[in-house]
């Protein structure tokens, strides 16, 4: 079977036309409620593994223990890593760039990933940063505006 020239190449266009509505889950519901109502960041401690998961979780992913003690961790912690994003999701340049940051809040063993606020050039691994809450809170991870360097 011959394709005589590249003019005969064809493609058929289409998409996957569905959307989704996700629940926050059992632990996520509690986490978002505490964030919305009290501006607290809930973590879940696994005594056996000495881990504190943030956001809260109903189970320990290491040992599978059920976690039912969700308690606030501190709103301040250490910058574990970050990246300075020069492009948006469409691939368009971002000016100024946005910082994505992973901060281990004091009392937690996992990190929380969010916007790194302020001058991107000031962000350093090991720096201290704290949660800045959003003015209007609705029960979403965006109830946090991001992290500010301390």
């Amino acid at each position: 079977m011959r394709v005589a020239s590249n003019r005969n190449y064809t493609a058929w266009e289409g998409k996957i036309p569905v959307g989704w509505r996700y629940t926050a889950g059992l632990a996520g519901q509690e986490f978002l409620q505490a964030l919305k109502d009290r501006g607290e960041i809930l973590g879940s401690r696994c005594e056996r593994c000495e881990k504190v998961y943030v956001p809260a979780s109903i189970f320990c992913e290491r040992c599978f223990a059920e976690l039912n003690k969700h308690e606030p961790v501190k709103s301040e912690g250490e910058v574990v890593t970050f990246a300075i994003c020069h492009r948006d999701l469409e691939g368009n340049p971002l000016d100024p760039p946005r910082v994505a940051a992973a901060v281990r809040l004091d009392g937690a063993t996992s990190v929380l990933v969010h916007n790194g606020l302020g001058d991107p050039a000031k962000w350093k691994i090991g720096a201290r940063a704290k949660v800045k809450l959003a003015a209007n809170r609705t029960g979403s991870i965006l109830d946090i505006e991001g992290f500010e360097l301390v």
């Binding site: 079977m1 493609a11 266009e13 289409g14 996957i16 959307g19 989704w20 996700y22």
Partner: protein
């Protein structure tokens, strides 16, 4: 067995209206341009011209539709193009009262598998039956393609509007 663990049911109201349960809504942009390849590329092009084309494998002597570049049973390139008729036989059909996104329909859509004349018996395509009282349709009926006007065809399976029973 023990009692099931979790599986907390939410009512439609809980989920959509109450505002008590936090949710995130999302749509993905999942867009594609699938290369048709030589077989389906020509199939679509010929539909635009008002013809249904099959392919023949000279080893097993099947004429198949939709056409393919290779025979999946003999696992060798298929040999030649075969013009098929735009008539066929209803192998099976349904009267469907809902759309793909579960909207109700008052007059049903009639999807069917239509064995195409000129192809090896049993070789058909999925398409629609129309131009007939839905209750009159029977398995085994002969049908003929009703094409869109040439100016409206775009090289797609929908260049055939539907298949209409012929007496």
């Amino acid at each position: 067995m023990k009692e099931p663990k979790l599986g907390t049911g939410l009512s439609s109201r809980d989920f959509f209206e109450s505002g008590r349960f936090f949710t995130v809504s999302y749509e993905v942009r999942a867009e594609y341009a699938w290369d048709t390849g030589p077989a389906i590329g020509r199939y679509l092009e010929e539909l635009k011209a008002g013809r249904i084309m099959g392919r023949r494998c000279t080893k097993c002597n099947r004429v198949f539709v939709p056409p393919r570049a290779f025979c999946e049973l003999c696992f060798r390139p298929a040999d030649d193009w075969v013009p098929l008729e735009d008539t066929g036989t209803i192998n099976t059909f349904s009267r469907c009262y809902i759309t793909w996104d579960m909207q109700k329909l008052t007059s049903p859509e009639i999807p069917a598998v239509i064995e195409i004349d000129g192809a090896t018996p049993g070789h058909g395509i999925m398409h629609m039956i129309g131009g007939v009282d839905p209750d009159e349709i029977k398995v085994g009926m002969k049908v003929k393609a009703v094409w869109k006007p040439e100016s409206e065809r775009e090289g797609a399976i929908t260049d055939i509007k539907y298949w209409k029973p012929v007496s």
